[in-house]
């Protein structure tokens, strides 16, 4: 039964992948080399050997990209064509047939300024138990962004799941290292461990408000590091409200 459902699910997954793959395929881009030469590697990494060199004035057809590399098709000896990979930086050494220069977004700090989305993962502690957090971010303005986050904290006595929506303000968006502040709201679900018989198996839900302060740092191509502290105020059914503190350290990628 389970495997049957899974097989159907996998079939639809493969279909989705193919659909995504076939969707509106990219423009063809033919460029001319303007520097003395460009190295062509056998694979999309600097470790792959250089097997060909395209020299000034030769044509290069750009096919696709992977991380910081572009797959190109070039004329080989005689009628043959060769396919290989060139560095992103090599694009700056090419031009369109009409002489226009090329630029590509590559996750540089300038591209960071015009990003739309971020995905972050973080690990840390929530009131002394280990916690993992996943955050999806929509970047609204240079300073403001909206986070949707999900945290799971698994302790010896309970399993806590926290989701929240919050508004984040990056104080100095133009700096590589910048502090940020956030406020938000969401829900905390707490389930006692199955082996704690007397506590029953009921899930406790409570809304919460949170405030957070953190620092983000532009590390390298497309990657940010972040460190954050957040304080959660759970609005419980009991007489007292409960305060939780979370520290986390994580990384983000941006698009």
């Amino acid at each position: 039964m389970g495997s049957c459902v899974f097989a159907r699910w996998r079939a639809s997954l493969i279909f989705i992948i193919f659909a995504l793959h076939m969707q509106g395929h990219a423009d063809e881009l033919n460029v001319v080399v303007t520097s003395p030469f460009i190295d062509v590697h056998t694979g999309p990494a600097s470790e792959y050997p250089v097997f060909h060199v395209v020299s000034k004035g030769e044509n290069v057809e750009i096919l696709m990209s992977r991380t910081g590399w572009y797959k190109v098709r070039i004329d080989g000896r005689g009628e043959k064509t060769l396919e290989g990979w060139i560095r992103q930086e090599s694009l700056l050494e090419t031009a369109l047939p009409d002489g226009s220069g090329l630029m590509a977004s590559s996750g540089t700090f300038d591209d960071y300024q015009t990003r739309d989305w971020e995905i972050s993962i973080a690990g840390g502690v929530l009131d002394n138990i280990s916690a993992m957090t996943l955050v999806g971010t929509w970047v609204w303005t240079r300073n403001l962004s909206v986070d949707a986050s999900y945290t799971q904290a698994l302790g010896d006595f309970s399993d806590n799941k926290i989701w929240s929506i919050r508004m984040r303000h990056t104080l100095f968006p133009g700096w590589k290292i910048s502090p940020y502040l956030a406020i938000g709201t969401g829900e905390i679900r707490t389930q006692p461990r199955a082996n704690l018989v007397q506590s029953g198996n009921e899930i406790r839900k409570s809304s919460h408000y949170e405030v957070a302060a953190g620092v983000r740092y532009y590390l390298t191509r497309s990657v940010l590091l972040r460190a954050e502290y957040r304080s959660l105020l759970a609005l419980t059914d009991r007489d007292e409200q409960e305060r939780l503190d979370q520290w986390m350290l994580g990384a983000s990628v941006f698009f």
Binding site: G2, S3, F6, R10, L13, I14, I17, F18, L20, H21, G24, H25, A26, D27, L29, T42, G43, P44, A45, S46, E47, Y48, I62, L63, M64, S65, R66, T67, G68, Y70, K71, L91, A95, L96, D98, G99, S100, G101, L102, M103, A104, S105, I119, I121, G123, S130, M132, L134, Q152, L154, D159, R193, A194, N195, T220, R221, S222, V223, A251, V253
Partner: protein, 236 residues
């Protein structure tokens, strides 16, 4: 996924220096005008100031002509896997799951994994012929984790003319395992081999160890659940 390449016309980049030249000329003219106005009689001053009437900034800046090209960028890898998981104390079972990875650069990738199976019986349960530790529902075993992977890029020479790109990679991550009615914080570490049959289709072999703290059969201990999987993956 697509990546934008923009092209800009080079001739227009000459516009900026020209604006600067005309600005500095204007500045010189202004200084001359000021010097003259201090020393020379009023009609000469009027003549000099009329020379300085050229606009400070030329408002007719040429538009930078930018064209954008959509280039297919394949940094996301979606994987479906099947394999065997050896659940400590609870036999080995077939496991299915899926992974999704984002390749940050040529070496680093971030990958999320979900897998599910059903655990078997402990040897005690088999030998005693009764007294099950867990209910059927509690035997459902599933886990997720988020891992950081590091690729060691390589090539596999199948024949003289057929060469396939490969990655040998190490992964380290954390996540959660749901088993015995509980979820447990789980560390996962492993290694794998990715054979790229085409630029967007690959076959992968993975070995992962999932370590968590369990008290299902009594005393609390660290359990090691080794998983061997074979998978197919697509880049898009």
């Amino acid at each position: 996924m697509h990546r934008i390449i923009s092209a800009f016309s080079k001739t227009n980049t000459l516009t900026a220096p020209r604006v600067m030249v005309s600005a500095s000329l204007t500045l010189t003219a202004l200084l001359v005008a000021m010097a003259l106005s201090l020393s020379v009689v009023s009609n000469a001053q009027a003549q000099a100031s009329s020379n300085a009437q050229s606009p400070d900034i030329d408002p007719n800046i040429e538009r930078r002509d930018i064209k954008e090209f959509d280039i297919d960028s394949e940094n996301i890898e979606v994987t479906a896997f099947a394999g065997v998981i050896s659940i400590e104390d609870f036999e080995s079972n077939v496991i299915y799951g899926a992974r999704i990875a984002y390749h940050v650069n040529e070496n680093l990738f971030i990958e999320g994994t979900y897998g599910a199976t059903t655990a078997g019986e402990t040897s005690f349960e088999v030998l005693s012929g009764g007294a099950p530790f867990l209910t059927e529902a509690q035997r459902d075993y599933s886990y997720y984790d988020v891992s950081l992977g590091y690729n060691f890029n390589g090539e596999l020479f199948v024949t003289d003319n057929l060469v396939l790109n490969t990655d040998l990679y190490l992964t380290l991550g954390a996540g959660s395992t749901e088993f015995g009615g509980d979820e447990r914080f789980t560390l996962s570490a492993g290694a794998g081999y990715r054979l790229l049959l085409t630029d967007f289709f690959a076959v992968r072999l993975d070995v992962r160890d999932h370590i968590f703290n369990s008290d299902i059969i009594g005393a609390e201990k660290n359990v090691q659940n080794l998983t061997y999987t074979i998978s197919t993956s697509f880049f898009f």
